[in-house]
Symmetry: C2
Subunit: 199 residues, 2 copies
């Protein structure tokens, strides 16, 4: 929703009907606020084929089957906003043996694919509450300086969101584990949709 | 420095001369701003014996020898602000096999000692720059609700610092690894003494 006023957004889904539905909701919500909106709903493969930047907005457990089902990611910038977490009495970070979700994504894709992590720490409810102004930091990790610059510009294109270079993909675990920390902060301090700001 | 206007602070050191020196600097700096200051410099053991709350402001590698040299911590609240980190081309989190510095401290102390982690993420330079107003979050972890409440009150007694309950000691790794993240954010974005705020 927040990208569709400044970018051509393609929503992909395993079920094209679901993509079309998300697309309709996005268009209605954004245009209702008088903002422009360019969004289309396609299959995951069609979404990949049409895009320069692919944001893997999927749960951790879907990484392997989703990436195995797709081709043509070689020359793309792929963004992982994925946080491997589990909920017990509190939230814990449960990274795979690769060290982080972003490193798993990197391993499963061709070496040429330029993988970054970003958008890990902003709560879905905050993205969706379009009438609310955001005031959040988004740390970005990645090994390809050009791809990282593109992703940081993408982050900055959203009003109220600041992009920060958080280092190479090797330290994306530190960014991913912010999310269970923020969920615990929300839980134990009776807050909602907690995000971070650096200062 | 920032605690000495509202609390009786005892600085401990292996060398009592160093404690006395820190004490003199603290007193001069705080009273110069017209603030009250109660601080004394003692040996580590004397500092423990005089205190209700012991803040282990020591490097990670000193945890084992320091705790082995001390007695009388059984009934105290012990606060770990310690972050096990290493610097390569960037900062990484290097926790011990216990999972975090706080859990190592817990393991090395008698079961009755009430261990919390706190003060992990505020840069030393910010604490020291007394004329600067702070605007930071301090997450607090711990398993003893009473001790955690005392530590959160201690945090809140410092103007401009907000205390957040970040959950049990088991998740203190998530708080400790904020520090290398913040050091990387500072390094890669040409910032200094970066801290966090939740929002």
């Amino acid at each position: 929703m927040r990208l569709s006023s400044n970018h051509e957004v393609v929503i992909g889904s395993r079920e094209q009907d679901k993509a079309a539905e998300s697309c309709t909701t996005c268009y209605a919500t954004v245009t209702k606020l008088g903002l422009p909106c360019t969004v289309s709903g396609l299959s995951n493969q069609d979404a990949v084929d049409r895009s320069d930047i692919v944001i893997l907005a999927i749960p951790f457990r879907h990484i392997e089957p989703t990436l195995a089902s797709l081709t043509g990611l070689d020359d793309k910038i792929v963004v992982s906003p994925i946080n491997p977490i589990e909920k017990k009495e509190y939230f814990i970070y449960t990274p795979p043996s690769e060290g982080s979700a972003a490193l798993l994504v990197k391993k499963l894709l061709p070496p040429r694919t330029r993988v970054c992590s970003a958008f890990n720490t902003v709560a879905a409810n905050k993205w969706k509450a379009l009438a609310e102004e955001l005031d959040f930091a988004v740390p970005v990790c990645g090994d390809d300086p050009g791809a990282k610059a593109v992703v940081m510009d993408l982050v900055r294109s959203i009003p109220g969101v600041k992009a920060y270079d958080a280092g190479p993909l090797a330290v994306s675990s530190m960014v991913e584990c912010l999310t269970p920390l923020l969920l615990n902060i929300a839980r134990f301090n009776k807050m909602r949709d907690v995000g971070i700001q650096f200062r």
